[in-house]
Amino acid sequence: MAIENECFATDAWSQEVMLSELEAPHTYYLVAEVEDQVVGYAGLSQLVGATQADIQTIAVRPNQRGSGLGRALMQELTKEATRRGAKEVFLEVRADNTIAQKLYKLFGFKQIGLRKKYYQPDGVDAFVMKTSLLRDDVSEPLVLGIETSCDETGIGIVRGNTLLANVISSSMDQHARFGGVVPEVAARAHLEALTPALEQALSEAKVTLDEIDAIAVTNGPGLAGALMVGVGAAKALAVSTGKPIYAVNHLVGHIAADILDQGKLAVPTIALLVSGGHTSLLLVRDIINDVQLLGETIDDAAGEAFDKVARVLGLPYPGGPEIDKAALGGNPAAIRFPRGLTLPKDMAEHRYDFSFSGLKTAVARHVELAESKGETLVISDVAASFREAVVDVLIRKAIAACVDNNIPRLLLGGGVIANARLREVAIEACRENNIELRIPPLSLCTDNGAMIAALGSQLVQAGFAPSSLDFSADSTLLVTQIQS
């Protein structure tokens, strides 16, 4: 009752109403607890056999708001309504409560009516809102995922949390002579690869487009022109097939890859995503509700550093595997290259951020100096020492994130995870610190459509409403924007 009065100061239910609600056979109430304290509750009313359900109330203590509790309660209520065979869910909300309305809209609720001066004594109108629960069973949705954020055209299909197809068409070879990904080249390649990739994915998954329940597409972050190819294709496919579309975050997709590997994501977890375009350290409490950016690179991505240093050493693109090869037999301690943002003053401000541009310059300077002095360069030592510097910083900061946040779990993702030394050091450091390490298979670590489908599937399973058709491709999409 304390929460009731705190949340609904003027129009709270009386104790009698509350009791009869809780005791009635057709209602379903659940409470949210934080550290054994009840901090919120929500209730559903649905007569036996009825296909319409009502959300009776939802309350979260003011000091606990904004942490996803409201969403979680709503999610459970809509799931329960689905279990009880509801096709439609109704609710009333104060016209002046825009925060609650925003939450309901996330679950597909739309305003269908108005009750004048419903809330007394304030005389505030009520909006009547309704959502449709389209499927009887959302637990195993068949989702198609489309990924075109960089140089990989990925189309994947998942059922629930199970991988059915993961087709990746890479334009990497076309970028080789440029020494890095050329956005225009990547975008052109996406357009060519889309149709064959879709056909192959459907045939591998042995499903037809008709059977697909939802389409998920990466709308950022990534290369704008590349993203737009996938977004344009996905929207048109959604319209032509009448399927709902979910615009999802590429980085969070990388985390979803682990669901396909493990069946579920163990949370909370720290995630380290390292690729040619990203170097990010994330704290994941809930993949669809709560992903927090701890830090990221302030200049080059780690994969980019590998490519640039490979060029300095006269090695081909992509640099990662080439540096790995060149480092064979090299001494990782031969040259002490700088570890970006690890000095005490940097750690104060950039504890979980990365910087690789100074490291790249240091390698280039080392090489030029040796050349000017006429010394022979031991490429294997340079490659091994450079790689050690990158890996050292990445893992050191990831472990710090685990320890600081008291989260004994680390998930790796992104193409640079292919680097053997990175995995080796990660395994070692996690063992020393009693941290559970998760490394999905490489085909799920590099950019792919299956991880996008997996994230879309989580949103569908949670009963989230599809994205509107007007979302944009956003090259700098924040990781907190899980669905657009």
Partner: protein
């Protein structure tokens, strides 16, 4: 008695062009049932989904009733152009429709001749190619409804075109590209012996703007 039957696939046509703005239309046997034209050159990926949905609703046609998708192949600024091409490809797959491609400049020439039916001077169609260049093509009337392209499509500086056309009488048009005209061009093409073109590849006319990379010197 023998009757010559023209083979026209019965059904509805969705035309899409994003080589300039975002423009979509629904046609049936060359008749425009509905169209939507957004002229602004930057919002293709935002617009395309709703634009298709709205134009179908306006024409009161279900997506599954579309039997052919006509797409503008450009030339046009690449990022926008690809949005329409990607959308057309996947719409066609989803609706199980045939996909045909038309040079986007043909649609402008068609519009021009529709508005000026007795024109017998060559018509120059130009669109912005950025970098102080234009995409262009030269036309000489319609043949059974299909624009007769005598030169292009190409990309050049305006000065080059001036020189090329010195002493040659011609008219320059700056009509916008519309998907309705694009769909009509495809319709008349389908009535010819050659038929409409199955080629829906983009007309880029320029190689990607990138040079093979070299490591930069850092100490000096």
């Amino acid at each position: 008695m023998s009757e010559h039957l023209v083979s026209v696939k019965q059904g509805y046509v969705l035309a899409i062009d994003t080589s300039a703005g975002t423009t979509v239309a629904v046609l049936s046997l060359g008749e425009v049932l509905a169209e939507l034209n957004y002229l602004e050159p930057m919002t293709h990926s935002e617009r395309i989904g709703s634009a298709i949905e709205e134009v179908l609703a306006k024409a009161k046609i279900a997506p599954s009733n579309i039997s052919q998708v006509v797409v503008g192949r450009g030339p046009g600024p690449y990022t926008g152009l690809r949005v329409g091409l990607a959308a057309a490809k996947f719409f066609a797959i989803g609706a199980n429709a045939e996909l045909v491609g038309v040079c986007s400049l043909d649609a402008i020439a068609y519009s021009y001749y529709q508005q000026n039916p007795n024109q017998n001077v060559p018509v120059l169609v130009t669109t912005d190619a950025r970098r102080q260049e234009v995409f262009w093509a030269l036309y000489n009337g319609l043949d059974k409804g299909v624009p007769i392209r005598v030169e292009g499509p190409s990309v050049n500086k305006p000065a080059y075109l001036e020189e090329l056309l010195t002493g040659q009488e011609h008219i320059v048009t700056d009509l916008p590209i519309t998907a309705s005209s694009l769909g009509q061009v495809a319709h008349f093409q389908s009535l010819t012996d050659l038929g409409a073109s199955k080629d829906s590849s983009p007309i880029y006319l320029r190689e990607p703007d990138a040079t093979p990379g070299k490591a930069k010197k850092v100490s000096g």
